[in-house]
């Protein structure tokens, strides 16, 4: 047998789009030498709906059922960003009632919590460990119960609107939410045992998928990825929105910048989220309207203008750049989802040298949400 050249040894492998280890509906085209990737390319397009373009053809209110679909596990940041950007351009932001702002903050934080519970499960699920994901999905479901009660739906809430939110908190909501938080807190030590104290997870996560600090500003990395390298960067504290400025909140950080650090970051932020939700429930006014008086949503026009608003999603900074032209529709919207840089630019840089068995865990640790990439 003759000796193979490097090129001949290379194997091309499609990971996804029909692979349970992939994050959402996307694919990675990988080239391998042995079981190590020499390079990889991210492919999207499997769920392209043209969210941004669709919004240009809809009246402002009609875009809410669209934007929530930009991220399935955490749709609410999108709802809030759309509302906040249009409110800013229309001047309606001055009329959003105090209570609505508190409810929105609660809603956004519940959304982060439920998303982080899910992705923490994904971290170990991607390594073939099934116990923690099952538990964490159950814990997330407790939050979905509250979403269902609050918004009338479990996943696509469509709850935030221009001028406030669509309904008040139901009677006894805070008590039931607190009971859920306690339930989650009581189960987290169990979860820790099977994730962070698991030799399997530690061996496969520590030192794997390290993101160098120099890439942060070069690529525009945000969220748990940068906080897991010790950089205290968080939209909620750097550019406080809604009621985050009135909460006692410090950006959490850890070090290591590897898969383990990012998982641990999420674990810390789950605890932080629970604390924030408690703070919000304690500070929220019980009386008052939950929505401003709205103009006729079928004919509403707002002045020409442009704005960029941002919020901290569980994946990082999410932003909406919105342009209006004085008509009853959005002229242009650009959704800046963290997944674009994390799932395309960063992932493609990290792939060379990665073991094929770690690719799935790496992608989960970057928390890639494909619809955000292909808006």
């Amino acid at each position: 047998m003759t000796e193979q050249t490097a090129l001949e040894r290379r194997v091309q492998l499609w990971f996804g789009p029909q692979h349970p280890g992939i994050t959402g509906n996307m694919a990675v085209q990988a080239w391998l030498e042995g079981d190590t990737l020499t390079s990889g390319v991210t492919h999207v397009g499997y769920l392209h709906r043209g969210f941004e373009k669709l919004m240009e053809r809809r009246k402002f209110i009609q875009s809410f059922p669209i934007v929530c679909r930009i991220c399935v596990p955490e749709p609410d940041t999108n709802e809030w960003l759309l509302a906040a950007s249009i409110e800013e351009l229309s001047g309606l932001d001055k009329e959003v009632p105090e209570k609505a702002r508190w409810i929105r903050t609660l809603f956004l934080e519940m959304s982060r919590l439920s998303s982080m519970l899910m992705v923490l499960g994904g971290h170990v699920g991607a390594m073939g460990l099934g116990t923690a994901p099952n538990w964490l999905i159950t814990l997330r479901d407790y939050i979905l119960d509250r979403f269902e009660e609050l918004t009338g739906a479990r996943v696509y809430h469509m709850y935030v609107t221009y001028g406030g939110v669509r309904r008040d908190l139901p009677e006894g909501f805070a008590e039931r939410l607190e009971a859920n938080l306690q339930e989650i807190e009581s189960k987290l030590p169990l979860v820790d045992n099977v994730i962070f104290d698991s030799a399997v997870f530690r061996k496969r996560a520590i030192g794997v998928g390290v993101v160098p600090e120099e890439w942060v500003d070069e690529l525009g990395l945000t969220g748990p990825i940068v906080r897991a390298m010790g950089i205290a960067r968080d939209t909620r504290t750097d550019y406080p929105y809604e009621k985050y400025g009135e909460l006692d909140i410090e950006p959490m950080t850890t070090t290591g910048s590897d898969i383990f650090a990012r998982a641990w970051m999420r674990r810390l932020e789950i605890a932080q989220s629970i604390d924030l939700i408690r703070q919000i429930l304690a500070k929220m006014p019980t009386e008052g309207p939950y929505s401003a008086k709205l103009p006729n949503m079928l004919t509403w026009t707002i002045p020409a203008g442009e704005t960029y608003v941002r919020a901290e999603a569980s994946r990082g900074e999410m932003g909406y750049y919105v342009v209006t032209d004085g008509s009853d529709k959005i002229r242009r919207v650009h959704v800046r989802g963290p997944s674009y840089v994390h799932g395309v630019t960063l992932l493609e840089r990290l792939m060379p040298g990665t073991n094929i068995a770690d690719l799935s865990a790496l992608m989960v640790s970057l928390q890639v949400c494909p619809p955000e990439i292909e808006r």
Binding site: K59, I61, G152, P170, L298, T299
Partner: protein, 590 residues
């Protein structure tokens, strides 16, 4: 690596003997939350078929389908939901102007036939129709604007000192805001006798194109400034926004648009086929129906002459409506447009029977809209006493600019708009005014706003008062004697009738008794061979669907023909005759 990390994961085995994380479900699916957004329900009795749910649905999942015959204020359509498209966002529920649409908290439904997932909630029976739970419209969260832009009015004290217009009119900004409240459902179009294109012109006002608005308005109304001020506005009574909020101020928006332009001819420049070149039409009576016929035929090339008995055209809108509601300048502006369209006017000329016969022979068509000119009698002893006067005579004298003396104290008998007008004019003439009406205020045919305005101006309204007789007192005044009535429900579904309570007499000593209890046709001047053909047993004229009477070429319209007796119905009659005449002319061309 520490041994701890090898052992710790095995703590998961403890779950084998612990309470499970999951919640066991028994006995079918777990019920949705109280405000769950599940399958739709619709209270079809409450639903008015406005289609706003369909308009807001971004998935185009809602079709409006006919389930019943349309009636005024209800299109007869009901939403049919396609669950292949629905995303359960519930915007349809939140926007529903009637509040009829809701969602149950049921979310499980399986079937092998995909077509069943398109159904008409409330019509196609479903197990969740009576569901108490689920997403419902909630007061405090409106996707439409329920609050009308308030109309500026003169102060009531100031009003009685002047003949100036009471209503000030919208500013441009106010009109745009008010117009933006429209949801474009079109129920108003069906309710308007002339079927004006209301959502279209409101949309043009909203978009800042007032000229376009006026053009649309003139599609089927040649007297819009009058309608913009005094219309009975059936449109507003069916406005879908009015079910839970204030109806659109359709009348005031029309007023706004027409008042924006002094020279209407410049704005309009109608592009219509001039089918009537070389043909002549005579119009008898210069009221709303006659003027409508004159304008729309004139722009189509007909040579139209309007014959009017009074020195000014306008009919009841000239002699019957007080100037503080409809000023002369507004009327003249409309007449100027007719003149610019080529309409000729013969004023101060009462047509007689011979002339009518001659007109029929000399013209291609004759339109008759002479209105109801014979006041109804009080039918109580003393009705012939001097000082007992018909309201219309008084209004006419006032509007012709003649001196009218009503003395210091007046009683107006009746409850219609004419009664209100007579009483408010009397207030401006300095008299103390009482309205005596047989029924209750809610039964009054007069416009609610008019009643309020009259009361604000100091008119006292005495209800359930049946006139018994009028007597002359020794000091030259009139003693108006009336008896109280009780309301008796004689027939289910009919409005209650006032029944005199015997033995009680109330006295009201006044200078004038103004009788405003309606008027009837006065067609004695018609040649017998014509009147016996065209009049029914009550003396009104009957026409066919083209507006033509049983006499070939003789068309009629207005109060003489319809039983609603308001200006917009007269305009609708005029339009019908215009279509009739134009169609006939076209047929002759072929």
């Amino acid at each position: 690596m520490s041994l701890k990390y090898t052992i710790a994961p095995f703590s998961a085995w403890l779950q084998a003997v612990s309470k499970p994380f999951t919640v066991p479900v028994t006995g079918g699916p777990r019920p949705g939350a109280p405000r769950y957004r599940g399958w739709h329900i619709n209270d079809v009795e409450k639903c008015i078929g406005c289609g706003t749910c369909s308009a807001i649905c971004q998935n185009e999942a809602i079709d409006m389908v006919p389930v019943d015959d349309p009636v005024v204020g209800d299109s007869g359509l009901r939403p049919k939901i396609d669950y292949g498209r629905c995303c359960w966002c519930a915007l349809c529920v939140d926007v529903c102007p009637s509040g009829s649409l809701g969602m149950s908290n049921e979310y499980v439904w399986a079937d092998t036939d995909a077509d069943v997932f398109r159904y008409i909630p409330g019509v196609d029976e479903k197990p969740w129709d009576d569901s108490e739970l689920g997403w419902r419209r909630e007061e405090g969260f409106e996707l439409v604007d329920h609050d009308r832009v308030p109309m500026g009015m003169l102060d009531p004290d100031e009003r009685t000192q002047t003949w100036a217009e009471v209503v000030i009119g919208y500013t441009e900004e106010q009109a745009r805001v008010e117009a933006s409240r429209c949801v474009d459902c079109g129920l108003c179009v069906a309710a308007c006798p002339a079927h004006m294109h209301i959502p279209d012109y409101i949309g043009a006002i909203r978009d800042g194109d007032d000229a376009r608005a006026v053009q649309i308005i003139y599609d089927n109304n040649a007297m819009p400034e009058m309608c913009g001020k005094v219309c009975t506005r059936r449109c507003e009574s069916v406005c879908s926004i009015g079910v839970q909020g204030d109806p659109l101020a359709i009348r005031w928006l029309k007023r706004y648009a027409t008042e924006r332009f002094d020279n209407l001819a410049e704005v309009l420049q109608p592009q219509v086929e001039r089918v009537g070149e070389g043909r002549t039409v005579a119009v008898i009576g210069g009221g709303p129906s006659g003027l409508t016929v004159a304008y729309y035929l004139a722009i189509r090339g007909f040579e139209v002459t309007v014959h009017e008995a009074l020195p000014q055209v306008g009919g009841a809108t000239f002699f019957g409506i007080p100037r503080y509601r409809f000023p002369m300048s507004s009327l003249e502006k409309q007449v100027d447009l007719l003149k610019s369209a080529g309409v000729k006017f013969v004023l101060n000329h009462r047509v007689d029977g011979d002339e009518l016969t001659r007109m029929l022979a000399e013209n291609d068509a004759v339109f008759m809209g002479v209105g109801l000119m014979k006041p109804m009698a009080l039918r109580a002893p003393g009705e012939d006493l001097p000082g007992v006067i018909p309201a219309l005579d008084m209004l006419r004298e006032q509007n012709l600019g003649h001196e009218v003396d009503v003395g210091e104290k007046v009683v107006v008998v009746g409850g219609g708009n004419v009664a209100i007008d007579a009483s408010r004019i009397s207030r401006r003439l300095g008299a103390e005014v009482t309205i005596a009406y047989r029924r209750r205020v809610v039964d009054m045919p007069a416009d609610d706003e008019e009643i309020e305005d009259a009361e604000a101006e100091g008119v006292e309204i005495v209800t359930q008062a049946i006139p018994l007789r009028v007597e002359a007192t020794e000091d030259g005044k009139l003693d108006f004697v009336w008896g109280p009535a009780e309301m008796v429900q004689e027939e289910e579904g009919k409005r209650p009738r006032p029944k005199l309570i015997e033995g009680v007499e109330n006295h009201l000593v006044v200078d004038r008794v103004i009788v405003a209890i309606g008027q009837g046709p006065d067609l004695d001047w018609l040649p017998t061979e014509i009147s016996e053909k065209i009049c029914n047993k009550w003396g009104y004229i009957e026409v066919d669907e083209t507006g033509m009477t049983a006499v070939e070429g003789l068309y009629a319209g207005g109060d003489l023909v319809n039983d609603t007796a308001d200006a917009i119905s007269a305009i609708a009659d005029g339009l019908r005759a215009v279509n009739g005449i134009v169609d006939k002319t076209r047929a002759q061309h072929v």
